[in-house]
Symmetry: C2
Amino acid sequence: MGRIITIGREFGSGGREVGRRIADELHIAYYDSEILEEIVKKTPYSEEYIEEITHGRPISLFPIHYANSWGPVVDPHFQQAIDVYQEQTKILKELATKSDCVIIGRCADYVLRDMNPFRIFVYSDTKSKIERCESKGKEGEPLTEKQMIKRIRYVDKKRRQYYEFYTGQKWGARENYDLMINTANSDIKKVAKMVAKLFD
Amino acid sequence: MGRIITIGREFGSGGREVGRRIADELHIAYYDSEILEEIVKKTPYSEEYIEEITHGRPISLFPIHYANSWGPVVDPHFQQAIDVYQEQTKILKELATKSDCVIIGRCADYVLRDMNPFRIFVYSDTKSKIERCESKGKEGEPLTEKQMIKRIRYVDKKRRQYYEFYTGQKWGARENYDLMINTANSDIKKVAKMVAKLFD
């Protein structure tokens, strides 16, 4: 079995930690924010802007009647999102060709489908997500529980839209993954050891 | 973590083999047809009849206008299905109380929810299911591929209806399971060793 492992995940489910620990167990590379840094190097856009357009599907800001007789007008914002996705695709393929690795998010399961990656999806229930978000909360004004639930739903909605726009597949639907892990009642260290066992 | 492990599964996905191997790895009891045998002992119905009414939701054979002024008429077929389900529930609880175990199907994840079981769902793609069915085929006239696909869909439809009728939950929906395993590209022996690792 190849050891290209991709991790899709719900916000607050600990998917990133699962991925990092699997990479540690298997002594293979781990790519998450490293990919963003690579995109920054290879495109003219800022980190913040790339962050923004790689969350959610690209939205055209121009109304449809902007099209004129010389052909359709392409919204530059929309085009930039597509450019970034294409650059990201190239980077993912380069990284996965270089060595075994764990890759977080970024439709890597779909982008690398010809390399037969092991596709994991990590999810959890709302209660556990809130607890995780609380324990990992950034400094400053803490969010109320209601605000946190809103945030969790918002981020997952954006992830779903992003994934479904670029892959044409349903995000979190079992047929698109090899293993789906619910972290609500699980010890993430054990989960990582469990997954690593499959690659023994 | 408790070691009551329940296995929901798509037909032809190898869920039964996954369960049996996990039980072997952990040296715990394994219950599948044993439950059916217990129900036969404890109810007046034949094995074949119980098999029939524990596949799919109970269907009332009486049209609704059979109800009369003395109260609703209960279709005996429907009532028998409910009786068998209740007997099965009792048996499942007795078995799970007796010792750690793996239980195949029978809404055990839902029935034993107060015992905090580890809930696995095993699934696969159609191609792998056909291969598995072919390799495990019973003697006699072999089914064509088309017939096999029809059979796979039919059994899964019945399983879904049975599960959803008695639990009110969606069959195969990730929120109802702790771990979902796609056996399409996996070695089942390795999968069982992987799951056992979680209980180390």
